[in-house]
Amino acid sequence: MKLDSKVPGGPLETKWQRHRFELKRVNPANRRKFDIIVVGTGLAGASAAASFGELGYNVHVFTYHDSPRRAHSIAAQGGINAAKNYQNDGDSVWLLFYDTIKGGDYRAREANVHRLAEVSVDIIDQCVAQGVPFARDYGGLLANRSFGGAQVSRTFYARGQTGQQLLLGAYSALMRQVHTGKVKLHTRHEMLDLVVIDGVARGIVTRNLLTGAIEAHTADAVVLATGGYARAYYLSTMAMASSCTSVWRAHKRGALFGNASWGQIHPTCIPRHGDRQSKLTLMSESLRNDGRVWVTKAKGDKRHPREITEEERDYYLERIYPSFGNLAPRDVSSRAAKRVCDDGHGVGPTGQAVYLDFADAIRRDGRAVIEAKYGNLFDMYKMITDEDPYELPMRIYPAPHYTMGGLWVDYNLMSNVPGLFVIGEANYSDHGANRLGASALMQGLADGYFVIPYTIAGYLAGTKLPKVKPDHDACRAVIAETKAHIDRLLALKGNKTVEEIHRDLGQVLWDYCGMSRNAEGLNIAKKRISEIRAEFWENAKVVGRNGDLNPVLESALRVAEFLELADLMVEDAASRTESCGCHLREESQTPDGEAIRDDENFSYVSAWEWNGVGKAPTLHKEELKFEFVTPSVRSYK
């Protein structure tokens, strides 16, 4: 199989313009002849569906939520990047491109990342025009702050609720199209499989979560915008329903899966408190602008934090990474936290935590300033931990947060299955081996508002597609398979809950395929995952029936897919013996724990082909060529 990235030629700065010119267009009068399915109503899905509706296509949009406004994008706190240079600190499209490529440790495609930086500027304009209430300075202009890994202030924000406001903006644009009738909204519908006819994606099979009805829906193109799969780790910052079903099923129908093991571990989460916890809560990274991270110099020092003098503290990020300090990128900060804790300097009851301290900032700026900036985050922290961060330093620890892996796509955001487009966190592109803070929102909206509306037209105008209806044999066959899968799950009458099994899976992934990996651990993981999968199919307990609202069945359907995806995550991690970005292979590091990348052998994207459960997948490589930047060692010292 040859992977064609379809990156246009010419200078980097003009590739996208040129491509847009060269792409075929669909005449406005003809757009109504095309049906497009969009799965997901997060930033990527809602913005794409709204834009398709505006253009005049017939759109069917699906979400398992009761309302598009609940998509996981709503949870993003910190902000969205854009190269506006409003602060006159030297930002530019080139610098944002460069930071993103470097942040991703040179494992992303140059042309995609440059396009992302280019359209970032339009995204802010678009959202402001929609009435998104971004923070403003007293002069009435937009305010910015800086985010981990950047030395300029390019992050736009709406208090600590940026994702919410951006999503509500996209949702309102979507509801406007629902009102015009161009978009048909299908809430509480979960996509369970993809329909591929003659090698082309032509539809999806869904389950109505209220009635259990299994139905096929057909279209001329299918767009997956279904988010990330960090819930594979069970404990993560992701919303509880986040799943991998859509991308995993598409993978099983032929779509290649890129960089499956690359997930981002976020450095500033509230540490876990016990065994029965259901999820972890993120404290926005923007806190690192004013909070100072420290642990005790002495090992196992359990004294009250305020009793520990300045001399007895180790501000390890400022010490090791003087030029970035507390704003060192996420992977670097997460690993540094793990290292100090593993070495016995961790704080709090479990020793698996470090302090994020605002005492200096409060002394410097006053409580009111800090409250205005982070009030809601501080309240949230207090609610969860019963400790007041104005008085005591916060305790934080890294947690799984985002997945850079996802379905492989070309420059047009189309997978290798023609007609199947993948946008937002669901695809593997743009962030390489590590995502910079505030870049996922940017990518979701870039894909949805400013990339896919053009590239899908190129596909639709350039492809002859026979009409297919949901009664097509291929749809019937997929429906039958889906029903059989559900029957098999409903027959499980063992004595462990699906959540317990998911928790076991998550622990294995966290232990062996989490913040750092090694060959031995990955081997153990592989064995354990197949055992857990076997246990699931023998010993899980699924109650209730299909023709009803059944949360146990919903969860079983999702966990069954995670159990297969986990294999690929481990396989992918094992195949890459270099360290890069968030992927630290212990075999490939300096004595003081800094990652060693190996461009000679690993400057490629792993694109995996499915061969069946328990069978080794086939690895295809998309070689990455760096024509415009020279990969350098990523140092934040």
Binding site: R70, H72, D125, G274
Partner: protein
């Protein structure tokens, strides 16, 4: 902690519901309310019984999915909090807790503690947006906005659409939700062009969905997890009165249709 839970069980929209008592022996004060319900469900599932259905997703207080009446209070006893952010340390050992779904004509029960809030989407569909297509937009800084106005707009925009305002109001009024959206746009220059039509159409949609009127009980404000204030309802009234006075004939027809 040992707790007795009296949970509303209702197998479907048309079925009759009732409170069922369950006892949990081992509740940790550090657990969230939903994690406590997870524990209950684990016990039920292992006994082969159907778990209690409740809606939740982000568990961070932002998606607006969760929402329960706890001892008659929307989202429970702590002010400015969603159920997912409510921790069990707010209850005492030996407590009995009554857990019910939102109750309002506009929010029919689907199952147990889950209700249908799609009426909110239909109200937004009626005009809760600025009509701009993607692209061809002026620079974001081309129209300065006073910080005070942007902040006030953000206060209103913070609504998570959970429905606590409706559930806690004796009239099942949705005016805090609608008022917040109308206010957000009324306070921003981007919202001006459609200001009149928006107020008329959203209020009409709200009435169509069977939500009641505000009679200044202020339970909505007290129960709002995002601390959205009654002033938004006042602003909505002002917007609506001004709009009806100015554009009554045409817009009212539109709204009625």
């Amino acid at each position: 902690m040992k707790l007795t839970l009296k949970v509303w069980r209702q197998s479907g929209p048309k079925e009759k519901g009732r409170l069922v008592a369950y006892v949990l022996d081992d509740v940790s004060p550090d657990q969230s309310f939903l994690e406590m319900l997870d524990d209950l469900n684990r016990v039920l599932v292992l006994k082969g019984e159907e778990p209690v259905v409740f809606e939740h997703d982000c568990r961070e207080g932002i998606c607006g999915c969760c929402g329960l009446m706890i001892n008659g209070q929307a989202h429970g006893p702590v002010r400015g909090t969603t159920v997912c952010q409510l921790h069990m340390r707010n209850f005492k050992d030996g407590d009995t807790i009554v857990i019910e779904p939102w109750r309002a004509k506009g929010f029919p029960v689907i199952k147990d503690l889950m209700v249908d809030r799609s009426a909110f989407d239909r109200i937004i569909e009626a005009g809760g947006y600025v009509s701009v297509n993607t692209g061809g937009i002026p620079d974001a800084n081309a129209i300065p906005i006073r910080k005070e106005d942007a902040d006030l707009a953000m206060d209103a925009a913070a609504c998570i659409g959970c429905g606590a305002c409706v559930a806690s109001c004796p009239n099942a009024s949705a005016m805090l939700f609608v008022g917040a959206k109308i206010s957000q746009y009324a306070l921003l220059p981007q919202g001006q062009v459609e200001r009149v039509a928006r107020a008329l159409n959203m209020v009409a949609a709200m009435d169509r969905e069977g939500f009641g009127n505000c009679s200044n009980v202020a339970e909505c404000e007290a129960s709002c997890p995002k601390l959205i204030t009654l002033s938004n309802i006042q602003r909505m009234y002002r917007e609506h009165v001004k709009a009806s006075w100015k554009y009554a004939p045409r817009e009212a027809r539109e709204a009625a249709g």
